[in-house]
C-alpha cells in the first residue's frame, strides 16, 4: 500500500525529482569521452563529432562497449567517469 512512498527528510528547497548532473560550462579545455556502443556506422558518426569537439578546443577520448546488446561493463563506466568531464554516447545505428 505505502511501500513505494517516502517522506522527504529535507527542507524541501530543491525539487523532489532527481536532478541532472551539472552541465559543462564550456567545451574548450574539457575532456570529453565518446562512447561507441558498437553498432554499425557509429565510428563514422563519432569521428565527425570528435573533429568538431577538437575544433572547439576539447580533448577527446574514445571508448567502445564490447556489445551494444548489454549495458556497459562496470570497469568501462569507471574508466570513463575518472578520465572525462562529460561523455557523449552514440546510441543508435
Amino acid at each position: 500500500m505505502q511501500n513505494q512512498v517516502l517522506l522527504d527528510p529535507t527542507a524541501e528547497l530543491s525539487p523532489g525529482s532527481r536532478q541532472l548532473q551539472p552541465r559543462l560550462e564550456k567545451i574548450a579545455g574539457a575532456t570529453i569521452g565518446l562512447l561507441d556502443i558498437s553498432k554499425p556506422r557509429g565510428k563514422e558518426f563519432l569521428d565527425e563529432v570528435a573533429g568538431q569537439l577538437e575544433a572547439m578546443g576539447a580533448s577527446v577520448k574514445r571508448y567502445s562497449k564490447p556489445t551494444f546488446a548489454r549495458v556497459a561493463p562496470l570497469d568501462l563506466n569507471q574508466k570513463i567517469s575518472s578520465e572525462c568531464d562529460a561523455v557523449i554516447e552514440g546510441l543508435a545505428d
Partner: protein
C-alpha cells in the same frame, strides 16, 4: 416525532462471544433497526440483512471500537450509548427486549477489536485518520530500490539509511505527545524551521526506534541552543562536531551503552541518536561536507558520537548533576568535540599520580602550547575511578588537581619556545595560564570494568563565549 432507536453492532467471527450471540443477533435483526459490521470474515452472518464488511476496519477505527461485540444505540437525537461483551441482562435493558438471548449463557466477556492488534493503530491512522503528516511525499517507481533512492537523493551520510515510509514515520511520531507540526527551532546552516515531523523522519533514516524520539528531540533542542553555536561548529575547518552524552533514567530505559566499548560501535541507541542529529543538520539544515561544512579532516564521530554515562556509583556525581540537574532527571548534554585520545596509566595507585598522568595527557589538547582555547571531556574509566575513590578523591578534587598541575607560566608557551612557532600571544608572557577555562573541563565516567584506560575527548578550539559551550537539555 420521537423515533425509536437504531442499533449498530460490531463483531468478528474469530471471537467466541460473537459466535455465541449469533441467535441474539438474529433476534435483534427481527426486532429493531440493526446494522452489523464484521471485522474479519464477511461470510459471517451473511444470511442476514444489513451485514457490512468492515475488514478494512474503517468503521471500527472511526468509532474507536475496542471490544467485540460492541453494541451501539443511536437515539436519533445525536446521542449514542454503547455496551461491550455479552451480558444478557444488560443487553435486554439496553435494547428494551425482555426475552433477548434466553437460550444462551447469561454472560461472556468479549474479545479485543482487530483495530487494537499490535502495529494496526498506526496503519489505520495513516489510512483513515486525518493525515497529520505534511512532509512532501516522493513516489518511487516500483523498480526502484528504496535504500538506493535515499542515496540518490543525497539523504545519507554515506551509510545506508532506513527508508522513511509514512508508516515508519507515524510509528516514530507515536512516541511523542508533541504535535508533528510543532517547530523545535531553526536548524543551521540554512536556518530552516524544523518540525517534530522532520525530526521523526530523520530519526527513521538514522535507524532509531520510536522510543528514542524524545531523546532525539532533546538533542536537537540542545544543539539549537545559542551557547552551542551549531552553525559555527558546522562551518569550522577544525575537526569538531557534536558529542552527545545522555544521563539519567532514559539512558537505561532505552538500553544505551555506558560500559564496555561505550565510545564505540554496537549499540543501537548510542549509534542512531547521534546519527539522527547529524542527518537533521544535513537534511533539514542543509549542512554538507564541502558545502558549509569545511572541515579539513573531520573525525569519525561525525557519523555519530553518542554515549551514556556510567552512573552505577552513587558517590560520584554525573555530568548532569555537575550541571545542576538531579540524579533522576533524564538529560542530554552536547559538547563540541572530536577524536578520542587515550590516557593509559596502568601503574598509578594513588589519585595524585593518576591526576598527574591525566593532566600531562590533557596538556596536548589542540596543541601543547595552546591554552584556554579548547575545552575537553575527560572520560574516566571505572578502574581509574576506583583508584581515585580509594584515595578519597571526588570529581571536583580531581578537576582541581588537574588544573593545578596544568598551570603554566606564559613564558613557557610563547611562539618559538621549544622550537615550535605555535604558541600563546606575547602579551600573556607574564601570566600564569590554565590549560582550560574554568568551565572548560568536564569529567564523565564510562567504559568497561577492565582496563586502566581513560579517554580525552578534546574540544573545538573555539570553546567558550566566543564559540561553543557544553549545553544540556532535559528529555521530556
Amino acid at each position: 416525532m420521537n423515533s425509536s432507536p437504531s442499533f449498530t453492532l460490531v463483531v468478528k467471527k474469530a471471537c467466541p462471544t460473537c459466535t455465541l450471540i449469533e441467535p441474539v443477533i438474529a433476534q435483534l435483526a427481527d426486532s429493531v433497526d440493526l446494522r452489523v459490521y464484521v471485522q474479519d470474515d464477511p461470510s459471517f452472518l451473511s444470511d442476514m440483512k444489513n451485514i457490512i464488511d468492515d475488514t478494512e476496519l474503517e468503521f471500527s477505527y472511526q468509532n474507536q471500537i475496542e471490544i467485540v461485540p460492541t453494541l451501539i444505540r443511536d437515539q436519533g437525537d445525536g446521542s449514542t450509548q454503547r455496551i461491550e461483551g455479552w451480558d444478557r441482562a444488560q443487553w435486554q435493558s439496553f435494547t428494551a427486549l425482555e426475552d433477548l438471548g434466553q437460550d444462551i449463557a447469561a454472560f461472556k466477556p468479549g474479545c479485543g477489536s482487530l483495530t487494537l492488534e499490535p502495529g494496526m493503530e498506526e496503519k489505520l491512522a495513516l489510512r483513515f485518520g486525518s493525515d497529520a503528516l505534511h512532509a512532501r511525499r516522493l513516489e518511487l517507481a516500483e523498480s526502484e530500490d528504496m535504500i538506493e533512492a535515499c542515496y540518490e537523493r543525497g539523504w545519507t551520510d554515506g551509510l545506508p539509511v532506513v527508508p522513511p515510509t509514512p508508516l515508519r514515520v507515524v510509528r516514530m511520531l507515536a512516541a511523542t505527545e508533541l504535535d508533528p507540526d510543532e517547530i523545535i527551532g531553526s536548524v543551521p546552516p540554512d536556518y530552516i524551521a524544523c518540525s517534530v515531523e522532520k525530526i521523526a523522519i530523520n530519526a527513521v533514516l538514522a535507524g532509531c526506534k520510536p522510543e528514542y524520539l524524545p531523546t532525539v528531540i532533546a538533542v536537537v533542542r540542545a544543539a539549537l541552543q545559542d551557547a552551542f553555536c551549531m552553525h559555527g561548529l558546522l562551518c569550522t575547518t577544525y575537526f569538531s562536531s557534536p558529542v552527545v552524552i545522555v544521563n539519567g533514567p532514559v539512558a537505561r530505559a532505552i538500553g544505551m551503552n555506558s560500559g564496555i566499548n561505550a565510545l564505540g560501535q554496537g549499540n543501537r541507541a548510542n549509534g542512531t541518536i547521534g546519527r539522527a542529529l547529524q542527518l537533521i543538520i544535513r537534511n533539514v539544515g542543509g549542512g554538507r561536507p564541502g558545502g558549509i561544512d569545511r572541515a579539513t579532516l573531520g573525525n569519525p564521530g561525525k557519523y555519530t558520537f553518542c554515549f551514556s554515562e556510567d552512573e552505577s556509583d552513587p558517590d560520584w556525581s554525573s555530568l548532569a548533576m555537575d550541571r545542576g540537574y538531579q540524579r533522576e532527571d533524564s538529560v542530554v548534554s552536547l559538547f563540541a568535540g572530536d577524536g578520542v585520545q587515550p590516557v593509559m596509566d596502568q601503574l598509578s595507585r594513588t589519585p595524585e599520580s593518576l591526576a598527574r598522568s591525566m593532566a600531562a595527557s590533557l596538556r596536548s589538547v589542540a596543541h601543547v602550547k595552546r591554552f584556554g582555547m579548547a575545552d575537553a571531556i575527560l572520560v574516566v574509566c571505572p578502574e581509574h575511578r576506583r583508584v581515585l575513590k580509594e584515595g578519597g578523591w571526588s570529581k571536583d578534587r580531581l578537576k582541581q588537581a588537574i588544573f593545578d598541575e596544568l598551570m603554566t607560566p606564559g613564558t613557557e608557551l610563547l611562539p618559538g619556545v621549544d622550537g615550535m612557532s605555535e604558541g600563546m600571544p606575547d602579551k600573556l608572557k607574564d601570566k600564569l595560564l590554565n590549560k582550560f577555562r574554568d568551565d572548560g573541563l568536564h569529567i564523565v565516567t564510562a567504559g568497561g570494568t577492565a582496563g586502566m584506560f581513560s579517554a580525552i575527548i578534546s574540544g573545538w578550539v573555539a570553546s567558550g563565549d566566543k564559540g561553543s559551550q557544553l549545553v544540556s537539555q532535559i528529555v521530556q
